[in-house]
Each structure stands twice: as C-alpha cells, then as structure tokens.
C-alpha cells in the first residue's frame, strides 16, 4: 500500500492496521457498526465478522482509501463492507484488495453494499491483485438514488486461480452509472455476473467489459441490463484471447420491460494482430513485451 499515511481503512488478514476518519467521514469495522448503528443492520447480509463501514456525511476533497490485504498463508477473509454516501456529495474512493505474496493460497470473499444518496457522485476505483493459488469472490451491490452518479472501475491485473465477480446495480430516477470491469486473466478461472437494473425513469447506465485470456484461462461473463422504466443502457463487452488454450465466453443479455426504454449491446472477441505484433518486435520488443504492451493498450481503452 503506497499511501499508508492517508489510508482510511487498512486491514491485513483479520487484523485492523489502521482506521483514519477524515472530517465528516465515519469509519468503523462493520462489526462495530452493527453494534453502534441499528439502522445500518438492514444493509448487511448477515451479522458481520469483518470488513469496513464508511459513512460519508460531509464533502471531503481528499480521496478516500481502503486497503484489505492478506499476508499469511491459508487466510480466509469473509468481509462485509458498507459504504454510504450522503446527499449532494462528490467523492473519490480507491479500494485495494490484494495478497502480499503470490503463493499464499488464500481466500477473499467480500459482500459489499454501496449506497449513493440523492444527487451524490462517487468515483470508485477498485483494484485487485492476487497470487496464483488464491480464490477471490467480490460481490457488490450498488444502490443509486435519485440523480446520483457512479463511475466504478474494477481492475484485476494480477488475477487469482479463481475469480468470481458479482456486481448488481440498481438505478433509480435520473441516476447514472458507468461500470467497467478490466481483467488481465492469467491461468485464471473467471466468472463474471453483472446486472444493471434501470428501475426508474431517466436512469442511464453503461457496462464495459475488457477481458484478456492468457495461459489456460477460462473466462465466462454474463452481463445483463434490465430496463424496467423509460431509461437508457448500453453494454459493451470485448475479449482478447492471447493463447490457444484459453477460452472466453461472453453472454450479453438485454431485458426490456418498458416500451420507452432504449437498451443496446455490442460484444466481440478478438486476437492479437500478427502485423501489430511484428511491428512492435521490429521496434526491439520481445514477443512477450509486445503482447504485454498490446494488452495494456486494450485494457487502457476500457478506461
């Protein structure tokens, strides 16, 4: 964790390393929040054991930072995270979840709920970095109240053995969101399920997936937009297959329950162009360096 000084919530294995409350921001463990705030209980899936509770009540201009790490072999985290953003606030959040070594054989399960109150804006960058034997399951639900805005990017550039991402978004009147999932999957079994529900009039959202399959990876992504009212949605799924032994399966699904809704999708899976690869090698890059650069560019385009 580079910005340890400013981190708001820092957990290693099951221990809290640091909690820092900026002005107008309440930060607790979710276990303490369960005890302290009765009203918050309804947002938890069950009584939490670990994880964070962040309640942003006032505008803070510094970005909020969370870091949940694993440092000990065979650690199994089971987190429940809750973030509540009050009305009219505009917040940047960077969340990091990682293993400190590549060989820890650990597990990281997270049930998260993020609530954006009326006219609030959240820019959330969620970065995952794991070892080759880890099993990781981030399961997040976002509730976007009237006219709120979410820009959420999930990045996994060092992927675990198994990665199961479940993301649910509920957009109410006039709310908008931009969900991006960028994953460079190396020897990984990846399962992605995401649903964007356009619940009320004027909701607007986009899902963008950029998935790279390398070294015996299996990727399956099922992305869904459900339009329940007059609303707009777009689904953009792209896969890049690097080697013969990987597979990518993209299943975009549109469900329209309102005649006034407009939802669209595009999906494609491609390979690296031989010409581009040869061009970069003729600039002195090895084959692997050239592939890495092309992959970086592909993922960069998703941002």
């Amino acid at each position: 964790m580079k910005n340890v000084k400013n981190v708001n919530y820092w957990q290693i294995d099951h221990k809290i390393k640091k909690i820092f409350e900026a002005k107008g921001v309440e930060v607790l463990t979710s276990k303490s929040a369960w005890e302290k705030h009765n009203w918050a209980r309804k947002y938890f899936f069950k009584k939490p054991k670990e994880g964070y509770f962040i309640w942003i009540k006032k505008q803070t201009d510094l970005p909020l930072l969370t870091c949940i790490s694993i440092a000990t072999k065979n650690t199994e985290q089971e987190l429940q995270n809750l973030l509540i953003l009050e009305k009219n606030l505009n917040i940047n959040l960077q969340g990091t979840c990682n293993a400190q070594k590549r060989n820890l054989s650990c597990g990281h399960k997270a049930q998260g709920k993020i609530i954006l109150k009326e006219s609030s804006t959240l820019k959330y960058e969620h970065i995952h970095s794991w070892g080759q034997k880890d099993i990781v399951e981030p399961n997040y639900e976002f509730l976007l109240e009237k006219n709120s805005k979410l820009d959420y990017t999930f990045k996994a550039f060092f992927t675990p053995k198994k990665l199961k991402i479940n993301t649910q978004l509920f957009l109410f009147e006039g709310a908008s969101c931009n969900l991006k999932i960028l994953a460079n999957c190396i020897q990984t079994e990846t399962e992605i399920e995401d649903t964007l529900r356009l619940v009320q009039k004027g909701a607007k959202g986009q899902i963008k997936l950029r998935l790279v399959g390398r070294k015996n990876s299996r990727i399956s992504a099922h992305s869904q937009i459900v339009a329940e009212a007059e609303s707009k949605g777009h689904l953009d799924c792209q896969g890049l297959l690097i080697d013969k032994n990987s597979t990518i399966s993209l299943i975009p699904e549109l469900i329209c329950q309102s005649k006034d809704a407009q939802i669209t999708h595009e999906a494609s899976i491609g390979k690296i162009s031989e010409e581009e690869l040869n061009y970069l090698r003729q600039r002195g890059l090895s084959e692997e360096e050239a592939i890495n650069l092309i992959v970086t560019g592909f993922l960069e385009l998703g941002e």
Partner: protein, 235 residues
C-alpha cells in the same frame, strides 16, 4: 560491409516472391531500391528485419559481421537495424510517448516535429504525414546503424518530402548512419542522392546504377519494362 544479402530466395503464402536477391550496403552509405508495385521490395525489407510471415528458402543475410538470417526481429533491431514502415499498424490504447519510453535507446531525443503526436494513440487516426513523422521519431529513438525507409515518399507533397529528407540528412546521414530508401516513385532521391540505385522487378535486382537520375529518367520515359530489356542487367 554493414549489410550483405546473398542470393536470397523467399516464399510467402506458398509463392516465391524473392528469386535470388543480392545487396551490399556499407557504413554511412545511402542506397535506393526502385521497383514497380508487387516487385518484392517490401518483402525484401520485411525479410531483412525478420518478419516470421516469410520463409527464407535459400540465401543468407549478414549484418555488422554477423549472420542474422534466422535471428529474431527484436535481436536484429538490437544489432542496429531499423525499418520505417510504409503503413504502420495502429497500436490502440498505447500513446506514442508510452511506446517511445519502452523502445528508446537514448535519453537525449529532441524532436520538435513529433511533439503534437506524443499524447495520441500510436498511429490511430494519424494522417499520412503524421505517420511518417511518428516512424522517424521511433527510428531515431532506436539509435540504429542502418535505417530502411519503406516508401517514405508516398503520400507526401514536395514540401513535406523536403522537410522529411532534411531530417534524415541531419539526424542520420550526417551522423554516419546508412540509409536504404525503398521507393516506387523515386521522389525522395533528388533530396538524398543515393550512391547506388537498385532496380527490382519480379523478385530480382535487375539493375545497380550509380546515377539515380539516369534510372529515374529511363523509368519515367519507358517504365520498368525498359529496365527489363536493358543490356546492362546486373543478373
């Protein structure tokens, strides 16, 4: 001798494209390669740079005293070979500045002309002229000993061509870097005055001439057909 190509025969897509090509370039020398479309010029330079798409069925390539016929492209570049592509492919999502940072062999690269391109994705929506500048910039970053320019004069008006030629003269020729100009039109030759002009037709070098004006004049007047019938055929 910096580059020597000996009796090179090459196949691509099962078809013989180069049918026994010989070429010698000394350090600091400027040479040109003229030829009609599909005569094998671009294939020759791709093979010199090691494009795996083509199969060398006979002959050898030497560079800086080392045989490089089977060497990987990136290793040839490390030895000092460089090619400026005629139509470079787009590298989506990668800014030119990022690419330069990855490939650069020098820290002192100053190049006013390319500044506006640095923050753009490499070759994405570049105009013809911008592509040439981008190629030049990358080539200079590689600190090469021999640069091959594949149709650097195509799609450039006379003014831009003069500008590009000045850069090549100042940054490469004046510093003792060898230059091989592959050209269909020959427009650039008046600015860079090659020591030897090779003519390639149908996968063979059929003429090596010291006076590029003479070659250009003949081709302009009679086309490459006249070259084929010329009594001074090199082969």
């Amino acid at each position: 001798m910096l580059l020597e190509v000996k009796n090179l025969k090459v196949k691509g897509n099962g078809k013989e494209i180069l049918k026994g090509v010989d070429l010698k370039i000394n350090s600091g020398e400027v040479q040109a390669f003229l030829g009609p479309n599909a005569s094998g010029k671009s294939t020759l330079v791709q093979v010199i740079l090691g494009n795996p798409k083509y199969k060398v069925i006979k002959g050898k390539i030497f560079f800086a005293g080392k045989e490089i016929t089977k060497l990987l492209p990136e290793k040839r570049v490390k030895l000092g070979l460089a090619l400026a592509w005629q139509t470079p492919p787009a590298v989506k999502g990668v800014k030119l500045s990022q690419l330069l940072e990855k490939i650069s062999q020098r820290k002192d690269l100053q190049f006013e002309e390319g500044k506006g391109l640095l923050e753009r994705e490499t070759n994405v929506d570049f105009s013809g002229g911008e592509k040439k500048i981008s190629e030049l910039l990358q080539i200079l970053a590689l600190k090469p000993k021999l640069v091959i320019f594949d149709e650097i004069d195509s799609g450039l008006d006379l003014k831009k061509l003069e500008k590009v030629s000045k850069i090549i003269k100042k940054e490469l020729v004046a510093k003792g870097v060898s230059v091989l100009l592959i050209t269909h039109s020959g427009a650039i030759l008046q600015f860079l005055k090659p020591k030897i002009t090779n003519v390639m037709v149908d996968g063979r070098v059929i003429c090596k001439e010291k006076d590029f004006r003479k070659v250009l004049k003949t081709i302009k007047k009679y086309g490459y057909e006249k070259c084929k019938k010329c009594k001074l055929l090199a082969n």
